[in-house]
Symmetry: C2
Subunit: 325 residues, 2 copies
Amino acid sequence: MADGTGGNQQIALGVDLGGTNLRSAAVTKSGEIVFETHRPTFASEGVDSVIDRIALAIREAADAAGVGKDVPVGVAAPGPLDPRRGIVHFAPNLPGWRDVQLRDRLQSLTGRPVILGNDANAAALGEFIFGAGQGSQNMIYVGLGTGIGGGVIAEGRLIDGIRGMGGELGHVTVDLDGPRCTCGSPGCIEAFCSAWSITHEAELLVASGRGDAIHAGAVNGTIGPRAVGAAAANGDPAALALLDRAGRALGAGLANFINIFNPEIIVLGGGVSEIGEPLLAPVRRAIDTYAMAVMTSDVRLIPSSLGLKTGIYGSAALVFYDDHP
Amino acid sequence: MADGTGGNQQIALGVDLGGTNLRSAAVTKSGEIVFETHRPTFASEGVDSVIDRIALAIREAADAAGVGKDVPVGVAAPGPLDPRRGIVHFAPNLPGWRDVQLRDRLQSLTGRPVILGNDANAAALGEFIFGAGQGSQNMIYVGLGTGIGGGVIAEGRLIDGIRGMGGELGHVTVDLDGPRCTCGSPGCIEAFCSAWSITHEAELLVASGRGDAIHAGAVNGTIGPRAVGAAAANGDPAALALLDRAGRALGAGLANFINIFNPEIIVLGGGVSEIGEPLLAPVRRAIDTYAMAVMTSDVRLIPSSLGLKTGIYGSAALVFYDDHP
C-alpha cells in the first residue's frame, strides 16, 4: 500500500533475536508496548534449542497480552537472511546457524503467521513506523552498534532488493585502501565507525602510550566507544582525532546515501551514536564536504527515538509494514 | 502501479535536451521509433530561444507521427532539476539556465502534458522499459559519459527521493582523499572513470612523456577514452594502469550499489563503457573485492542495449513510466 504502513492488524507480536538476548513483546499499532520480556538466547546450545526458546517467548508474549492465534509475529534476526523465503543464511553470533528455515519452523511451532526480517532493516521500519522517522517518506536509518547496520525507506517502502538482502549500509566503501572490515572488504564505514573498529583504534592508542585519557574513561576497565567519547568530551586530542577519523568516514557514507536517495531524514541509532558531538561534528563536516549541496539542504540528521526499544519496535514493525506479506 | 510501466499511452513524444544537440522523436509503447529528428541546441542563444526550439522540435515530431494533442511529451534534460515541480535548477552546458520552469512553459507552448526528467534517470527508465533492463525489477543504470550519471529502479520504481534529485550515482565517494570532482567533492567515481577524468589522466601521461601509445591511438589528434582504450588493447602498460585505477574505483562504486540495493542487473552505458575489457576486467575484480559475495551472485553486469538511442528512449520512457504523474 502507498504509505507502506497499515494493514488490519491492531496488535502484533515481536521477537528480537540477538546473540546474547532474546526479547519478545506485544505492541499495538499506536506504539504501546503492552507486554515485554527478555531471556538469554543461550546460543551455544544450538539451533533447535534456540528455536524452541523463541517459540516459548512468542507464546509467553501472546498469553500475557491475551491475543488470538491469528495475530502474526515479526522476528528480527541477524543476517544475512532471506526475508522472502524465511531463511537465516548465517549469523556470526549464533553458532551452527546455516541456512535455517526459521520462519516455517516457527510457524509450525506457534501456529501463527511469522514475518522474518533482518534486524537492521527491521530497526529502520521501527523508526519509520514508531520512531524518529514517523511522517517521513524517504528515510535512511543507520545503527552504529558492534557493527553498522541500516535500512532505507524510499517513498514509504523498504528498499531491500531482489532477495531482500539489500540495505547493507555499513558495508559501503568510502576508502579504496582503507582498513579491512569484518566482511572482508577494505574501507567500509563499519571499519571506521562501529563499536568494534573504534575499540580497536582505542586499544592501539592505549598500547602505544597515547591513550591515558581514554584509559581513564574506561568503565569497569573496558576500553570502548564510551571511554573514547568521555575522553573526547574532556578535550583529549588522541580521542578527538580518533573520532574525527571515524566521523569523517561515516559522514562520507551518509553523503553517499544523500546523493543516491535525496532523503528527508537520516536517523542515527546504536550505542556509538550516544558519543554525541565529538562524533557528530566531524560527521556533519563530512556531509558538507561529500554530499551535493542541493540535496544536503533537504535532509535532517536526527537521533533514534527508540533507543533500547529499537529491537522490539522493529520486530513489531515487520508486521505492521505489510509490503512483503 | 505495481510494475512501474504502462499507463494507457500507446505512443509518446520525447525530447532529449543536450548542451549541443536537441533530439525529438515519437516512440511506441513497444519501442518502435516512428519518427526521429535532431538539430543543434544553440544553447548560447539563451533560455527563451532554446525553449522555442524545443517546442518546435515537439511539434515537428508530433506532426510527422500524426499524433493528437493529448499525447504527452517526455523531456529529458541535464540537471540538477526538480521533476515534481518541472524546474531545471541549473545546467552547466546550458548558459543562463537558472531555476527555469521548463515544464509549464513547454505545456503552454505545445498544449500537451509535459513530463520533465533528469537525463540520467530518464536513461535508466529507458533501459528498464525498452532496453537491457527489461523484465528486471531491481536495476542500476550507470552512464559513463563526459560525466557519470545514473538511476536506480527498485522493485519496479525509480528511486529519486523527496524532490526527485536522487540517483546521483556518479557522485558517490569511494576515496576520502581522492581526486577532486566537478561537483566539488573528493573521490567521486566520476573523478576516476568519466570521459573528463580519464582524458585528464591521459593528458598528464602524454605531458610526462609516458603517453606515446595513447597519443598514437588518438583520433584526429584528440586524446580521450577511445585513445586510452586503443592503447590498452595493444598492451600499453601506462594505458592499462590508467584504466585499472579508473575501473577499480568504478567497481567499488558498483559494489556499494550492490550492497545497498541487492539488484538483479547493473547496466553500463555511455561512451567510456565502449572501452570494453581493459576497463571491465578491473571493474569486475573490484566488485569481487568490495561487494558482499551473498549479493554479488545475484547480479549481472551488462552493457546498455540502447546505445546512441538512450536519450530518445529515455525521454519517451518518462511518459510510459507514470509513477510520478
